[in-house]
């Protein structure tokens, strides 16, 4: 199995998020998640929005900031093994826009209830902070170092 033989990009992971249709698929999958949560009968609408926001941020955190390296061996002698996907990418700003939209929508639907607000803000911050350029390669308390 050859990595990157059809192009000179040694780590194809950096280009995945720029591919055509990725943004649309992302939006559709969030919509799908939201609908599934909405169809649970005993949960009220504000809780559903909060849940969507939290689950979305959790998945985003796991996929982009926890999992390290690449799922295939790259010909660059493992330069990206200790880097999370976000650090491998070229600092795309697209995803922070979606965080903001999601956060605003959730705040609106929960009618600014205090408990919900706190929960949503914390969840948003856990995803926004690792994306800051100052935190590139930083591992707090040595979590997720290797």
């Amino acid at each position: 199995m050859n990595v990157g033989t059809a192009h000179s990009e040694v780590n194809p992971n950096t280009r995945v998020m720029n591919s055509r249709g990725m943004w649309l698929s992302y939006t559709l999958s969030i919509g799908l998640l939201h609908h599934i949560l909405l169809s649970i009968p005993f949960v009220s609408v504000p809780v559903v929005w909060t849940l969507t926001n939290m689950i979305h941020n959790l998945c985003m955190y796991l996929l982009l900031h926890t999992v390290k390296g690449t799922p295939f061996q790259t010909p660059d002698q493992g330069k990206a093994r200790l880097l999370t996907h976000w650090e491998q990418m070229d600092y795309g700003v697209q995803f922070t826009a979606s965080q903001r939209v999601s956060y605003l929508l959730t705040s609106f639907y929960t009618k600014y209830d205090r408990v919900h607000f706190v929960v949503n803000t914390v969840s948003l911050l856990t995803v926004l902070i690792p994306k800051l350029p100052q935190l590139h390669g930083v591992r707090i308390f040595g979590i997720n170092k290797y």
Partner: protein, 564 residues
């Protein structure tokens, strides 16, 4: 519509040619179309179509390439496919971890659990969860000469591709659409084979030394003079391995303080050679002359990064035919740029030598240019000559320098004599020096086969990438499951194809790659096309949203090629 932008090279704003469709013009579709196509008045699916508009004066014949864009629905479904496969991959890993499922892949021994792990098992994720499932499409053992038809060893697997067993039977006469056999010289009978046999009797098979020591045979000298004559250059040098030609010679040509401008889709051997040389590498968008010019201007204006000293040399590295896209380099424009900005040009004609051009002399011949304009002409003997190895051609001083300084000349064993003889015989046939018209016939057959095959596939509604004259035909599959399905269905219909997916290609652009050969007869191509049509209907591969001619009553092979 396209001719209005017949402006100078510098006017990059005039033509909005971009790649990968992201900024494809303000009204949603690429403004420039192929020189032959009339302007469209209704909305068409976006196409990244490359044409000769800004410098049509440099091209003696129309240059029509197209890379039809991925339909959005297909892209979304492809991501869903990869997502589902990833989820199942994690699920299976979980089962393997808890020993519910048997783990076939190598894992560390109990005694080594406290040691630092040798491998990251995430790096193996793709291999064990995606690649293994469709692994039977690759590494198929063949047991005959890979001509137009080939025999495959039949193999079965009882544990979903983790291990294979040979049944002992042979699948005979599989139509070979995967070998790089452009002129049909992969044969075990005929003039080339007899000459190679005689040479084996005279010289043996091994050389047991390097070119610089005692491995420089007279047959190597004869080969090099012939190659120089074939290409139209002063001198040339031949090496035993094509990959090593690139990776061992680029470090000898450039070093620190030099700049290499390399195309986005260059082959791994060129990338490796560039990295080994230690030069600064800048990548320009595939076949995009505005991008290349911008890089050249920036490089010359700003000089080296921190010190701003001028670069020692600037080397532009391009290929003749890009084998995964089927596109041909815009050589006239590259040469014009090179002359204007005084850079050097390294042209890798691995797939185009012997396959393009009225006399088979490659992409320089195809465009009708002067071979002396290309500073370093590199190519391989693997594809059109039915042999192995590579060559570099250029001025005498350059080749003399390479003879002393190339790693390959100093450390690698020289080419085997029967292989050299095969190249000599096949090259003489192509040049017509053996006294027959076999070379001309094969060149013409290849060009007819290419045109026919591409036209038919387009008419059937598949998305085909690349230039209309390139014998490499990538057919887009997109979804990961279709990669495996296509390969297997074609094998059931006795046609051998090569399929390729992520991570060798960008994530949504998995493809099947056909290599048309002069050895294919019209009947073979028709059989193959019929099978591809069936599989295309079965797997719903006919994504193209272009207009198709309405009257395609099956396809009769006796229609004239000239009516198009």
């Amino acid at each position: 519509m396209t001719e209005s932008s017949g402006s100078k090279l510098l006017n990059g704003e005039a033509c909005q040619r971009t790649l990968r469709g992201k900024n494809a013009g303000k009204n949603g579709f690429v403004k420039n179309h192929c020189v032959f196509e009339h302007p469209r008045k209704y909305r068409r699916p976006t196409e990244r179509s490359q044409n000769a508009a800004p410098n049509s004066s440099l091209y003696k014949k129309p240059f029509s390439e197209s890379f039809e864009e991925t339909p959005l629905l297909v892209a979304v479904l492809t991501y869903m496919g990869y997502g589902i496969l990833t989820i199942f991959g994690y699920f299976r890993d979980f089962l393997r971890h808890w020993n519910i499922e048997k783990c076939h892949i190598a894992h560390e021994r109990e005694q080594q659990k406290d040691f630092v792990p040798l491998y990251q098992d995430f790096e193996n994720f793709y291999t064990r969860n995606l690649y293994m499932r469709i692994r039977d499409n690759w590494n198929r053992p063949i047991c005959s000469v890979p001509g137009a038809k080939v025999d495959l060893v039949e193999r079965v697997t009882h544990n979903y591709n983790w291990t294979f067993e040979h049944t002992g039977k042979v699948v005979k006469d599989v139509i070979n659409m995967g070998s790089y056999n452009y002129l049909g010289f992969a044969e075990n009978a005929g003039a080339c084979a007899s000459a190679a046999i005689e040479t084996t009797h005279a010289y043996g098979v091994g050389v047991a030394s390097t070119r610089c020591e005692i491995g420089n045979l007279d047959i190597h000298e004869e080969l090099e003079q012939l190659v120089a004559r074939f290409l139209g250059v002063e001198s040339s040098m031949a090496f035993g391995m094509g990959f090593a030609t690139n990776s061992m010679n680029i470090p000898a040509l450039t070093g620190k303080g030099c700049l290499i401008l390399s195309d986005e889709l260059n082959h791994a051997s060129l990338v490796l050679g560039a990295r080994l040389s230690g030069s600064t590498i800048r990548v320009f968008k595939h076949n995009n002359m505005q991008s290349l010019e911008k890089l050249l201007r920036d490089a010359i204006a700003h000089g080296q990064p921190r010190t701003h000293r001028p670069w020692k040399k600037i080397l532009i590295v391009v290929e003749g035919i890009y084998s995964m896209e089927g596109s041909i380099v815009r050589l006239p424009e590259v040469i014009a740029l090179k002359k204007r900005y005084k850079a050097y040009l390294y042209l890798d004609e691995a797939h185009s030598i012997g396959a393009l051009g009225p006399n088979g002399r490659g992409v320089v011949d195809y465009f009708g240019l002067d071979p002396k304009d290309v500073d370093i002409m590199m190519g391989t003997f693997t594809k059109s000559f039915g042999a192995a190895g590579g060559y570099i051609g250029g001025r005498k001083e350059l080749i003399d320098y390479l003879r002393c300084h190339s790693h390959s000349a100093l450390y690698a064993t020289s080419m085997s004599p029967p292989v050299a003889q095969q190249i000599i015989s096949s090259m003489k046939i192509i040049m017509g020096e053996d006294g027959s018209t076999l070379g001309k016939d094969r060149l013409r057959q290849l060009s007819e086969n290419t045109t026919y095959f591409r036209r038919k596939l387009r008419e059937m509604g598949f998305i085909i990438y690349g230039n209309d004259d390139s014998p490499v035909v990538p057919l887009m599959l997109y979804m990961p499951a279709k990669i495996g399905a296509f390969g297997r269905e074609m094998l059931k219909r006795n046609i051998g194809t090569v399929v390729v997916g992520f991570p060798a290609t960008p994530i949504i652009e998995s493809r099947a790659r056909f290599c048309v050969s002069a050895a294919h007869t019209r009947e073979m191509l028709d059989t193959a096309l019929r099978a591809i049509g069936e599989v295309g209907d079965l797997l719903q591969l006919k994504y193209s949203r272009r207009e198709r001619p309405l009257s395609t009553p099956g396809w009769t092979s006796d229609e004239s090629l000239l009516q198009d």
